[in-house]
């Protein structure tokens, strides 16, 4: 059965929430009363329950299978975290109730900050950014503020071609000019080209935005040299922390020369992806940037933790560049992340990173003879990047191949990213998968590849066959966007039909 939209079966009179009748006094709305109907449909509770349960069943999820989206880190979401986030002492407190009535909230934020600083080896952390990209923005704003404080105004941010799109978008949003830096044949930053570029823009480099491990699944071996070069040029090193999952407990960004790095709590620390959000993107900062951390922040004093919310409340050395968001950030995500980190502990966090890398390499060796590694056979970090050259002359496109995976019960890997590789296929199994699960995945992928090579194009071109929907037409969706439901034109009913 097809599931209709609420607008197609709800009604404006129906209500699935009982509200106690109240004797309403005279309105004091000053003539601002709404004049027209809104048109919002309502559902009785059983109708709503069934509607959303049935809709949900059209979704793939980590809980239903391997979700190898490279760079997204789709790992197990422990339900302990959900339970903890729902404790009334966390879930039912207001961001602006007196700080004296929420000492446990400040303690939690401070504790999580401690775990984040220790595991990254950094000096400070700005907790409030609401998502990874928001964290990037925060980190780059701190960098800009530091330049400004030093009476500098460099204009250029270096970004490798393999970067997430958020990196150049963030830099551009702050008025920076983005200059691309090239990769070597092995997918990592070309040091010589970097030196040239820096020299070319001498004195005008605000910083570099680098993902490490990078989006090709490789750790940048020359990371310390890159950091030194950029520092020598007067710039800061922004590290995109999307791939921190690979190295927790194995290397600390602080030791790599990083000045700022956001942490996607939903990637590395398992807060649920929730169909696309909410995320949370705290930014760890080096000692050079710590002073510029935005409002609000928590200050340790002899009498306990203090919430600093305004410039007026700052003391010497604190120079917040401003504010990223109202209130204190994603508390609900903090609780989940801390619950996850405490559960793992220092040993478990390291083990998780090791297992993530082990699993990715296990897939690599299971598939490298049949699929194509753009940078040759070498260890990868927590994700393995293939390209689509193995599909050459098969008549099967990269997209077809991905859609055929759906029919085998899998969510496809990340496709066409990073852009530096043609027909990229980025596979990240995460540490949550068992060996049996990986073996089955490898076997299935091998079968698909062999099938493509045998020219069984129909299996691919028409895929998916077994999903809730066949291939969807994204082109026409963009050409004539229909972004909301509108009531269909009333159909004229002929008298004979009406009588029926």
């Amino acid at each position: 059965m097809e599931e209709p939209l609420i607008f197609e079966f709800g009604s404006v009179e129906t209500c699935g929430v009982d509200l106690d009748e109240a004797d309403t006094p005279e309105f004091e709305l000053g003539g601002h009363e709404r004049q027209a109907e809104i048109g919002l449909p309502g559902l009785a509770e059983p109708e709503a329950m069934r509607h959303y349960v049935r809709m949900s069943r059209n979704n793939y999820a980590i809980d239903s299978g391997l979700y190898p989206l490279g760079s997204c880190t789709m790992k197990h979401n422990p339900r302990l975290n959900e339970k903890m986030a729902r404790l009334p002492g966390f879930a039912d407190i207001h961001p602006l109730q007196p700080a004296s009535t929420v000492p446990g909230a400040l303690e939690l934020i401070d504790e999580l900050a401690h775990w984040l600083m220790v595991s990254t080896g950094m000096e400070a952390v700005a907790m409030s950014p609401k998502a990874g990209a928001h964290g990037e923005l925060c980190g780059m704003m701190a960098i800009k503020a530091a330049h400004t404080a030093a009476n500098r105004s460099p204009e250029i941010v270096l970004v490798p071609e393999s970067a997430h799109g958020t990196n150049p978008a963030t830099a551009a949003l702050l008025g920076y000019k983005v200059v691309s830096i090239d990769a070597k044949d092995d997918g990592t930053v070309d040091l010589d080209k970097l030196k040239e570029t820096i020299a070319k823009h001498d004195g005008n480099i605000a910083g570099i935005m680098l993902t490490n491990p990078n989006t090709c699944g490789l750790f940048e071996r020359d990371i310390r040299t890159i950091a030194d070069l950029i520092h020598a040029a007067g710039g800061f090193f922004y590290c995109d922390g999307a791939n921190f999952n690979a190295i927790v407990g194995k290397a600390r960004p602080g030791d790599l020369g990083v000045d700022a790095m956001h942490i996607n709590l939903h990637k590395t620390f398992s807060t649920p992806h929730g169909g696309g959000g909410p995320g949370s993107g705290p930014v760890v900062l080096s000692d050079k940037l710590a002073a510029f951390a935005p409002l609000p922040f928590i200050r340790k004093t002899d009498s306990g933790l203090e919430l600093v919310e305004t410039n007026e409340a700052t003391t010497d050395g604190e120079q917040p560049f401003g504010r990223m968001t109202a209130f204190q950030g994603q508390m609900g995500m903090y609780v989940r992340a801390l619950s996850y980190m405490m559960s793992h502990g220092s040993d478990g966090l390291r083990q998780a990173s090791e297992d993530a890398v082990l699993n990715a390499n296990y897939i690599r060796v299971g598939l490298q003879d049949l699929m194509s590694l753009p940078y040759g056979v070498r260890p990868c970090m927590h994700e393995v990047l293939f390209d689509d050259s193995f599909l050459k002359d098969t008549g099967v496109t990269t997209l077809d191949f991905a859609k055929a995976m759906i029919d085998e019960g899998y969510h496809p890997m990340t496709m066409y990213f990073p852009l530096v590789v043609h027909g990229a296929m980025l596979i990240e199994p995460t540490e949550s998968e068992s060996r049996a699960s990986l073996d089955l995945f490898i076997a299935t992928m091998r079968d698909l590849v062999m099938s493509a090579k045998r020219g069984e194009t129909e299996r691919f071109s028409g895929a998916p066959y077994l999903a809730p929907r066949r291939r969807l037409d994204e082109t026409s969706a963009a050409r004539k966007p229909v972004l909301k439901w509108t009531a269909p034109e009333p159909v004229e009913i002929s008298p004979s039909e009406a009588a029926e």
Partner: protein, 448 residues
């Protein structure tokens, strides 16, 4: 460790299959000098029971809103959310799914986003809404940036009724991006002259109604003046329940409407995660930030939904994108959509009426307390009191008596004598007659 399926046998077998001797061989690219040798200086793994105890102990130190008479609003509101909502958003298929990059197997997410966009467009009386922003404050920042793109001007005028922290977000972004912001002084009673601030350089005017202080604002004249100068009106709200009762910004001429949706479906959560609502006119849709879900058909002609117009977005356009955003507030907008579907128009209207009614009752009671003055003539579920002494101390004194009484304006706007005695007080459907009586009595005592 309970979350890790591999055991040591698996690990050594797998290393052998990979052809390396030890796990560290796979980390060989990390320079020796920076490789972490010892464990991080953090506690070791802990059982679920232990973690639960430690976190529960922290939580127990906080005074939860539901445990006391509660009147704090100012951008986040204590409402009752049906148990159905929280149950549904915890469905594995919603909770542990990601951005619907593969629409054929994520119609669940896409369909609720389409429902959400439609609900937001209906509520605001706008043409089109996106699939949500992080929250109201960041959405306001993005709205100003969008107005700059649309008008190709860069001076924003912010009303003195805008939430101070929203203002700071806009100012911060604009300062960093090199744009201009004119922020009017605090305007508790809604009497500012904003019209005179609008000129040909103005890209947008940002007005909140109900204002931070609770005052309802007539947006029509502001829209008219703005449009005369080819500027956009950005209408902001923090209490979406108000739209059940008051005239929506869309019919008053707003060009962009942005607001906080937390009140519907979402708890207080000490400030986040929340859900930003964002709507605009059809003609501006390609300058919109954030994700959009659109309707289409599949290969068999069946209706389906996909993410669309992604050429605006960072993963395609990179430094030319309309925004750097690559997340929405997924589960929070699902919660919003479910709660709103349960309410429907009838429920939302009634909820809004109860909220307003409770505020009116509270206002009557509190204005009877000697020395207390109410500053607002027209309001929804929130208003501002002028107390005979500094509000900060009064709120602390009331907290000590077990009443969370509202927000002292000076907490967000310190150093302004005019604002020192102001208290913003909110009242929702959760407040009982007893709550209100207790508040009034305690306030009388504290002020005596």
């Amino acid at each position: 460790m309970r979350y890790l399926p591999l055991n040591d046998t698996d690990r050594s077998d797998m290393l052998a299959r990979i052809g390396v001797n030890s796990i560290d061989d796979l980390f060989a690219d990390i320079p020796e000098a920076v490789r972490q040798k010892d464990l991080l200086d953090l506690p070791k793994r802990a059982s679920e029971m232990t973690v639960e105890r430690r976190l529960s102990a922290m939580a127990a130190k906080n005074t939860s809103a539901g445990s006391v008479p509660f009147f704090v609003g100012a951008g986040a509101y204590k409402h009752h959310v049906p148990a159905t909502v929280d149950h549904l958003i915890q469905r594995s298929e919603f909770l542990t799914s990601y951005t619907p990059y593969q629409p054929e197997i994520t119609q669940g997410t896409l369909q609720y986003l389409f429902e959400f966009q439609t609900q937001v467009a209906q509520l605001t009386a706008m043409d089109v809404a996106n699939a949500s922003m992080y929250d109201g404050s960041t959405g306001t920042g993005e709205a100003v940036l969008m107005a700059h793109r649309v008008t190709k001007k860069n001076k924003a005028v912010l009303s003195g009724g805008l939430h101070p922290q929203y203002r700071e977000v806009v100012e911060g972004l604009s300062n960093m991006a090199g744009d201009q912001v004119v922020s009017l002084p605090a305007d508790p009673a809604g009497t500012e002259d904003i019209l005179s601030q609008i000129d040909d350089d103005t890209s947008c005017v940002v007005v909140q109604s109900p204002s931070f202080y609770g005052q309802l604002i007539d947006l029509k004249p502001i829209a008219e003046k703005a449009h005369q100068h080819k500027a956009l009106l950005i209408a902001v709200f923090t209490e979406v329940v108000s739209l059940g009762l008051i005239e929506p910004p869309g019919t008053q001429g707003a060009d962009i409407v942005v607001g906080e949706g937390q009140s519907i479906g979402n708890g207080l959560n000490y400030g986040g995660p929340y859900v930003g609502l964002f709507a605009t006119r059809q003609k501006y849709v390609r300058q919109m930030p954030g994700r959009l879900c659109g309707e289409t058909v599949d290969a068999e002609g069946k209706r389906g939904f996909v993410l669309t117009l992604s050429t605006r977005e960072q993963h395609i356009r990179r430094d030319k994108a309309t925004s750097n955003i690559c997340t929405n507030s997924g589960l929070c907008c699902l919660a919003f959509t479910i709660h709103m579907s349960l309410l429907g128009e009838a429920g939302l209207t009634k909820l809004a009426r109860i909220n307003h009614g409770n505020a009116v009752k509270l206002k009557k009671l509190l204005s009877g307390v000697p020395g207390v003055e109410v500053l607002n003539s027209a309001y929804f579920n929130e208003f501002t009191l002028r107390l005979p002494k500094a509000a900060n101390g009064v709120v602390e004194a009331l907290a000590a008596k077990g009443i969370l009484a509202g927000l002292p304006v000076a907490r967000l706007e310190p150093g302004n004598k005019d604002l020192e005695n102001l208290l913003v007080v909110a009242s929702t459907e959760v407040n009982t007659d007893d709550d209100r009586a207790a508040f009034a009595a305690a306030l009388k005592e504290v002020l005596a």
